[in-house]
Symmetry: C2
Subunit: 373 residues, 2 copies
């Protein structure tokens, strides 16, 4: 499945944990890949290791334009606008993707610049706490989900993400129903053949680094990551604070459950802000669900016969379902099998042909990976 080759060179903008690890994996797999980083120090380090990198953004993009490279925007959200402007100026014909952890805000920036027809958004679900070239390493993406968007092919270019916040909110409240509505809608829209080729190359890139392609549209993605990526950070911060308010004794008595549950509160606050603030509407929707659950637990624990059975049972059942889906898969880093077996269902798709968009929508609702053939 990863024996396919990317049809063009890859130009990576930003060599932090994600971009740097991607460069390492691509080069190790024999692909042509080069990169840019703003910090000359990181560039110097990467050069010492033999990588083809520069700290000149115009140079790297002019080169990308010259060899029709696939450009990967791998900077934090705050720098995405500037990267898009540079791509428009120096690589006006290149297709590009991004690996930012929210997709609505990026798509909005892309549409504002009229670049949607040469853009396929993506998000590898790997790595958050460490950052920078120094943290990058081969194998980061193995077994991870690599989300790839396909909003353009659904013909909702004007309605899917009118505003990043609103779009994410709509996605959050209709993650299930919305997918069904999309599936029964107009189906595939007319898209340029070049966009289909771009989609295939982004999927192939994910396969080359041993990630698993999980298709998801912007709103659906942002709603899902609010639940399983952003909310763990928010709750870890809150737990760390109330633990700290117990003073030295509480910290002295804290054992594994507190340590594990507050681990991601060790992430840089700027990273947590970037995730939650650019996906605010979806995070607020999930926060409302959490607050309602906690208010109910508070109420039932305040009765003359304190009771937390409902939340304890529901949480346990939910965790069992999560583990069952994860079981025997390549995820979790716990498998020692030399040939990892994915726990995700798989659907096969031939981009641009037949009912391929319906297959992507089906995969989205199943959390399935797709194999391109």
């Amino acid at each position: 499945m990863s024996s396919q080759r990317i049809s063009r060179p890859v130009c990576i903008l930003g060599l932090g944990l994600i971009g740097g690890s991607l460069l390492r994996d691509l080069v190790a797999a024999g692909e042509t890949a080069y990169g840019y980083n703003r910090s000359p120090d990181a560039v110097e380090e990467a050069k010492k290791e033999g990588f083809d990198v520069t700290s000149s953004l115009s140079d790297v993009l002019s080169r990308a334009q010259g060899d029709d490279a696939l450009v990967v925007v791998a900077t934090p959200m705050g720098a995405v606008g500037a990267m898009l402007d540079a791509i428009a100026e120096f690589a006006p014909d290149c297709g590009f993707t991004d690996v930012v952890s929210v997709k609505g805000a990026v798509l909005e920036a892309v549409r504002e610049r009229g670049m949607a027809e040469r853009y396929v958004g993506s998000h590898p679900m790997a790595g958050t706490a460490e950052s920078g070239w120094a943290a990058s390493h081969e194998g980061l993406f193995r077994g991870a989900a690599w989300v790839i968007g396909f909003d353009l092919a659904c013909g909702d270019a004007g309605s899917g993400a009118a505003g990043a916040g609103t779009a994410a909110g709509a996605g959050a409240s209709g993650a299930g129903a919305g997918a069904a509505a999309g599936a029964s809608g107009a189906g595939a829209a007319e898209v340029p053949a070049s966009w289909v080729e771009l989609w295939k190359d982004v999927a192939t890139l994910a396969g080359v680094v041993h990630a698993e392609v999980v298709p998801a549209r912007v709103g659906v993605h942002d709603a899902a990551v609010a639940r399983i990526s952003h909310m763990p950070h928010v709750l870890a911060e809150a737990l760390a604070v109330v633990g700290d308010q117990g003073g030295a004794l509480a910290h002295s008595l804290a054992a594994g459950s507190f340590r594990d549950a507050t681990r991601v509160a060790g992430s840089e606050p700027a990273l947590v802000r970037a995730m939650c603030e650019t996906n605010a509407a979806a995070v607020v929707d999930v926060l409302d669900e959490v607050i309602e659950l906690l208010n109910e637990a508070r109420e039932s624990l305040s009765r003359p016969e304190p009771d937390i059975a409902e939340l304890a049972d529901a949480g346990h059942s939910a965790r069992i379902r999560f583990k069952a889906r994860e079981a025997s898969g390549a995820r979790g880093g716990e498998s020692v099998s030399p040939v990892p077996v994915s726990s995700r269902p798989v659907l096969r798709v031939r981009p641009g042909e037949g009912e391929w968009v319906q297959v992507l929508i089906q995969a989205e609702s199943l959390g399935a990976r797709v194999e391109v053939f």
Copy 2:
């Protein structure tokens, strides 16, 4: 520090994870220890391994009465009342402790039976997710905090835990201030010399199994564990539920942060209920703090310029303080040093002499371990 010997045999009631592991460690250390378990199967298994155990409660307690053993109640909270009644009937002169994870409810049950003068409550901060004799093993308590109460010596027998719920609540809201008030109060109350000997033996028992004695009174303990033990469970349940509500896609995209943060939702709901429902007032107090933090975050994320800086910064700072206190210590199971160095400050105390109760109160406020000399 663990070269001291317990001055009497140890009789353990309940051979689950905690009781069973305690029996293993004590026997391995050359102490005289025997036990009781309700389930004949577990007794059979333990016998096969050469342990001195029985499924007759009256037999084991008659033996304890005969050799003046230290009785350890190591059953779940629901069985504590029956154990106390049995001790009153068959071992009316034995001193006893317990290892239940909440202390207000146990102390209340002890006081109702007029047994406070031969009781020293304790709580080893080790192990929650697994259970039963099969899960027990040597070394469970190494480096863990072993909380030991001393309410009787503070002369607050009538006021400290009038009702388990209320007492815990009072402790929760005054964990810091309460300690100071206690310290400046009447100081040590007159306690029987036998109680001081009992306290020493419980502390020695903790040292024999390589735990660290952290003194804390009932209300202060229950407020602290609500923060760092019970709240991680409540939040893990809530997070598991909202993740599950994202369906297959959300589970498919979930990575390390969600997996770690929901781990303890895998605990048996009955265990979570036992913890939270018997410590309900303290848990409700901390829940109120969490809900307030989340409501504030929700409000600031809903602004035109979404903002979660306050919670992100506070959570990160709190986590850094926790890690700093934990750093270089024997805790966390990460040290590979053959001679673990504790990260807890240490105070030395000679039970029953001088200002020993003031030293315990000081240790409580510092989360310090005490060494008995």
